[in-house]
């Protein structure tokens, strides 16, 4: 797959495979991204959302690490071994009205570094009237800051809420997949900073193969909830250039379960509108003609 329109200059499609199963939530990606791209700081105070104080991808946060605290029920094995004990402990819990660790089943803390998906069918790019958004020779989606006029059409077009305007200048800013670094054969800053290789950068075809193998490992280990998110070319955005391995449903991480490019049905809409107009025209004609009758 090569970028259309680049001819000989087209490069293999580049992307991210973010394997959230090995993300340790250190946020080095957030910091490296901001350092490299001169993204302004954006202190919005203590959020109370676990260890997440940047909360979402926006004009000033191009990598965002989500923290999800989950109560997990005891595994089947553990429960089977200690049913009698559990019953006894429940008595204590009821009597004293307090849950201690001994009575509870443990928790899970999910961490995941989110980023612009660099969609195959990018609605933001479709709706941009100025050409500020463009597809690069690496098939990534980039905003040209000197062209963007701040109209904001792309903001509503993005099915993930990634695109966002800066309050002070109105322009739209988002992950460029470090376009400048790619041009110099360097990997994006976030991927380079990631200590555990949770963020992997490379040729998309190769990353997808790698991800499939990784998923097989989880399936073999009986981790049914693990899944790839955005690796399917048949999905509503034609697959992501930056896709993920998640350990739970996308909604758990604040991601849409079945994203669809908002411009995907534009063709149908126009067809339907034309059909409606034709029908209306016919009806009007009929009415007029009927009136004549």
């Amino acid at each position: 797959m090569t970028a259309l329109g680049y001819g000989a200059e087209a490069k293999p499609r580049k992307g991210f495979f973010t394997d959230t199963s090995i993300c340790i939530g250190c946020k080095a990606c957030e910091v490296a991204c901001k350092e490299w791209n001169h993204v302004p700081d954006d202190n919005s105070g203590f959020s109370g959302h676990s260890y997440d104080n940047t909360l979402q991808l926006d004009a000033n946060t191009w990598r965002h690490v989500a923290f999800v605290e989950q109560r997990k029920p005891l595994g089947v094995d553990a429960a089977a071994e200690s049913l009698v004990e559990a019953a006894h402990l429940n008595e204590i819990a009821e009597r004293e009205g307090v849950e201690t660790y001994q009575e509870d089943g443990g928790i899970r803390w999910l961490m995941a570094s989110d980023v612009c998906k660099h969609c195959t069918h990018a609605a933001c790019l479709d709706v941009c009237p100025t050409g500020a958004l463009f597809r690069t020779e690496f098939e990534t989606v980039v905003v040209q800051e000197d062209v963007c006029n701040g109209c904001g059409y792309c903001v509503t077009a993005c099915p993930f809420g990634v695109l966002d305007q800066r309050e002070d200048d109105g322009r739209v800013w988002k992950c460029t997949l470090c376009y400048d670094r790619l041009k110099d054969d360097m990997e994006p800053a976030c991927a380079q900073a990631c200590p555990t290789n949770s963020i992997q950068f490379g040729d998309l075809d190769e990353l997808r193969e790698r991800a499939e193998k990784r998923l097989e490992k989880f399936s073999a280990a009986g981790v049914e909830e693990a899944r790839l998110y955005g690796a399917d070319e048949e999905d509503g955005v034609g697959g992501f250039g930056a896709f993920f391995l998640l350990l739970d449903e996308p909604e758990v991480y604040g991601l849409p379960p079945d994203p669809v490019a908002t411009t995907r049905h534009v063709g149908h809409v126009w067809t339907a509108a034309l059909a409606a107009a034709a029908a209306l025209g016919a009806a009007l004609a009929g009415a007029v003609m009927g009136g004549r009758r």
Partner: protein
């Protein structure tokens, strides 16, 4: 580890991917727990009970690696009849001197030996320091052999049996009762460790300040050492105990110390007891056997490096010019004296005691009693600005106009602005080169201290005072480079490596001499510049060399990647297993070989070597089967006959402030813990004491990934500050309900020292634990905030008591008690009133 050492944690993740099982034991559920196979919440301050339970599990079930224990540890050594255990004396070992509050350690010795206590003192007091501060220096053994042993380890007074008896009460039930860890979970941990040890497998412990910052911190690590030795996990690949230090180069600043009680390479600091005489010092400090048997060559070579031609055999190589210490001059004792106007001036270099030290308020008050203060740091930290904006100005306890301290703030260069080495946890030195010149007045520490010394020397001029000669004669003749006249760091490293009398760089410490013909700044680093090349600057990628990757950086001693690696082979020199082979004896070649530098002294020392000669000394006095060559007996010490002031075996004591009583002994706390009784440092009532109920919760401090320690390096950085912008406390939903605390709201946390405010984080990650039949709640407190920087907040360390581990003078800030109430704290003098109310309720006079 993921929380505070995310870069190092990548290797844990890699090990996990390869099938290693990761267990995380911590009161709260952290980013490490999230990645672990098993998280074990434990009551803060109860780790010796937990680890002692594992020791007991190993011994009761015969899970020890018996051949390893018998040959490589002091398990078979018989201890003198005079020794009595804490199990016999209700929490005290024999030798307790209640008048001095210290142990006389004679009765802890190996049977049939004589033992000199520290520097001729009859007892090791809480302030033991300097000479013989390291236990190995105090023991004299003929031919390195303990006189009485039982190879079968059946003798009732052999270490193995003493250990068995000492830990017999540390059952899974006790662990459950004391630590709040369900016995099934405890057994899972113990069995996982046992299953992953032995000939075919190894397991490792990683710890950080969560273990050291206790009144029994050293004994925590000793207990882990006992487990690792019983399981045969030392000196072998995949084994060990890894101390994850608090900063990037703390290991380096211990090796070439910024500590008051050791010289480079762990050479003890002289004590006045030696009367300034080298022979007395060596007699007091150099054991006859083991690697320390050559202490004379290490020290004399260091003196030659410092004073060059001025150091001669006739003048004892200027030994008497070294400073002497006669007690505890650690940082906390210095501040204690500072408060009493007994310290005139102070240098704070990369250190922020106004935020980072236990009972920080006491520290700020003390700073106001100085004549002068020099602070070298990246930004103007709270320690430099205490006179202007500290809490005590607000409460009226200090008045700016009345503070006489003259403060000099000198901006420091960052690591990117200077050449030098970082030493990490496994003693690996990695050289970094300056990327840019420091801006403005910023300078490196090397620059600062070099030029300070030069200026002092200029001031001394031609003074003929004897006391000025040590500075006048220093061989500080480094070439100066760059626009700031910076001493060349590589030339300093060459001096650390050492030279012979023809200025040839020495290849290894074994070549150091006692006649003054060699100079070496730090014996353990000898060889770091061998063949004229900076070995620590080697950066050959791991993929281009074998799995041990010895051409990346350099580790002391002699580029040895695993210390005591002789233990990776059996007594005959054969690998314990093919799977875990590392270094071994090659009979055909007549020498040791393998993946690493064999850490045994001469490479041709046969595994069956036995010293024949009664006069054999140093390494020649140790058997070829002895791996732990720094010890005078070549053995690893399950039982420490000397060197530790609070007992030869770790035993559980409650933290100085604890909500529960010690179920093991009448003695509640470590009897030797170091206390500071003064009005600025009151203690919460504890255990069964009246008023203890006023402070019913365990408070514990820690760090977050997003910030660095006391905040000097992170609170000024916008991209880090926005990630954790405010101080918060972490509590369980149950405690929130008990105290009507609202998630996202404010809470005030109180001790008898003071009160602070924090945002409330209610989370399932903090669990109430059932301990001794009651529920114990923890309040988790990240301690990064202070008055300055882009993000500010109250100083968590204000809450904690100044009470220390007696061996290393480290504060107990991982377990204390406190109260929590909804809402923000009062301002100004009203804050003092609130605390006073608590003091009265608890019956504590300040």
């Amino acid at each position: 580890m993921a929380e505070c050492h995310p870069v190092g944690f990548q290797w844990v993740m890699e090990a996990k991917e390869r099938g290693a099982k990761i267990i995380h034991v911590d009161p709260r559920f952290t980013r490490t727990s999230a990645m672990a196979d098993l998280h074990v919440p434990i009551r803060a301050g109860s780790d010796i009970a937990f680890l002692g339970g594992i020791v007991n599990h190993i011994l009761e079930n015969g899970r020890e690696f018996r051949d390893y224990v018998r040959h490589y540890t002091n398990g078979p050594v018989i201890i003198t009849e005079e020794f009595a255990d804490t199990e016999d004396l209700d929490g005290f070992f024999s030798g307790w001197n209640s008048d001095d509050g210290a142990y006389e350690i004679d009765s802890w010795r190996y049977a049939d030996t004589e033992q000199e206590a520290a520097a001729g003192k009859k007892e090791q007091e809480g302030d033991v320091s300097g000479e013989q501060a390291h236990g190995v220096h105090g023991i004299t053994l003929n031919k390195g052999e303990p006189p009485e042993t039982d190879p079968d380890m059946e003798h009732p007074r052999c270490v193995f049996q003493l250990l068995k008896r000492h830990y017999s009460r540390y059952t899974p039930e006790l662990v459950e009762q004391l630590c709040g860890v369900p016995r099934e979970q405890f057994l899972e941990v113990a069995e996982t460790l046992c299953e992953n040890s032995g000939r075919e497998r190894t397991g490792a412990f990683c710890y950080a300040v969560g273990w050291t910052q206790h009144t029994v911190g050293v004994q925590y690590i000793r207990t882990a050492a006992i487990i690792q030795l019983l399981l045969g996990n030392m000196g072998r690949p995949g084994g060990g105990i890894l101390a994850l230090r608090g900063h990037a180069n703390i290991q380096g600043s211990t090796d070439i110390p910024t500590l008051y009680n050791i010289l480079p390479g762990y050479v003890p600091m002289p004590h006045p007891e030696s009367e300034g005489r080298l022979d007395h010092y060596l007699e007091n400090n150099a054991p006859k056997t083991g690697v320390w048997g050559n202490l004379d060559s290490y020290l004399i070579s260091m003196l030659k490096a410092w004073w060059g031609d001025a150091a001669t055999e006739e003048n004892d190589f200027c030994f008497d010019w070294l400073p002497k210490i006669d007690g505890d001059h650690s940082i906390y004792s210095v501040f204690d004296r500072m408060l009493d106007h007994k310290v005139k001036g102070f240098f704070a270099v990369g250190q922020n005691p106004a935020v980072g030290s236990a009972n920080s308020k006491l520290h700020r008050l003390a700073l106001a009693n100085l004549d002068w203060l020099v602070v070298r740091d990246l930004p103007e930290i709270e320690t430099a600005s205490f006179w202007l904006d500290s809490q005590e100005i607000e409460t009226g306890e200090l008045t700016t106009e009345e503070i006489g301290t003259e403060v000099f703030f000198l901006p420091a260069a960052a690591h990117t602005e200077k050449d030098g080495n970082f030493t990490n946890t496994q003693r690996l030195l990695q050289w970094h080169s300056k990327a840019v010149e420091p801006r403005g007045d910023c300078r490196s520490d090397l620059h600062f201290f070099y030029w300070l010394g030069r200026k002092i020397r200029d001031k001394l001029g031609a003074s003929e005072e004897e006391r000025d000669r040590p500075i006048q004669q220093l061989t500080w003749d480094y070439p100066l480079v760059g626009p700031h006249q910076e001493p060349d760091a590589e030339v300093v490293l060459r001096e650390i490596n050492g030279f012979d009398s023809d200025w040839n760089l020495l290849p290894k410490y074994q070549e150091l001499k006692t006649d003054g013909s060699t100079a070496c700044g730090s014996w353990i680093h000898c060889g770091i510049f061998k063949q004229g090349a900076n070995q620590s600057a080697r950066k050959k990628p791991g993929r281009e060399q074998d799995w041990v990757a010895r051409e990346w950086g350099w580790s002391w001693p002699a580029n040895t990647r695993i210390l005591y690696n002789r233990a990776s082979a059996d007594p005959d020199g054969k690998p314990w297993s093919e799977r875990k082979k590392y270094v071994w004896w090659d009979e055909d070649e007549g020498q040791w070989t393998g993946a690493d530098h064999p850490d045994i002294g001469p490479a041709d020392k046969r595994p069956d070597y036995v010293p024949e000669d009664d006069d054999a000394t140093a390494i020649d006095a140790l058997r070829g089967s002895a791996p732990f060559i720094l010890h005078p007996d070549g053995l690893a010490w399950l039982y420490a006959p000397a060197g530790i002031v609070d007992g030869p075996l770790p035993t559980h004591y409650e933290p100085h402030e604890s909500p529960v009583e010690n179920p093991l002994y009448g003695q509640q706390q470590n009897p030797v813990r170091q206390r500071f009784h003064r009005p600025e440092n009151p203690y919460n009532p504890t255990g069964a004491e009246l008023g203890a109920g006023v402070f019913p919760y365990v408070i514990t401090s820690y760090r977050l990934t997003e910030h660095h320690t006391a905040g000097g390096m992170s609170r000024g950085l916008p991209y880090l500050s926005e990630l954790q912008p405010e101080l918060f406390c972490e509590i369980s939903p149950a405690l929130a309900a008990e105290r009507a605390l609202e998630h996202g709201g404010w809470a005030t946390i109180v001790t008898v020292r003071t009160a602070i405010e924090a945002r409330v984080m209610v989370t399932d990650r903090v669990r109430p634990l059932r301990v001794e039949g009651r529920v114990v709640h923890h309040i988790g407190l990240p301690y990064h905030w202070g008055k300055r920087g882009l993000v500010t907040g109250d100083t968590v360390n204000d809450l904690f008591p100044l009470v220390l581990d007696p061996n290393v003078h480290i504060q107990e800030v991982k377990a204390a008690t406190g109260d929590i109430r909804p809402g923000r704290r009062p301002r100004g003098k009203a804050l003092l009133d609130l605390v006073e109310g608590y003091r009265q309720e608890a019956g504590v006079a300040a």
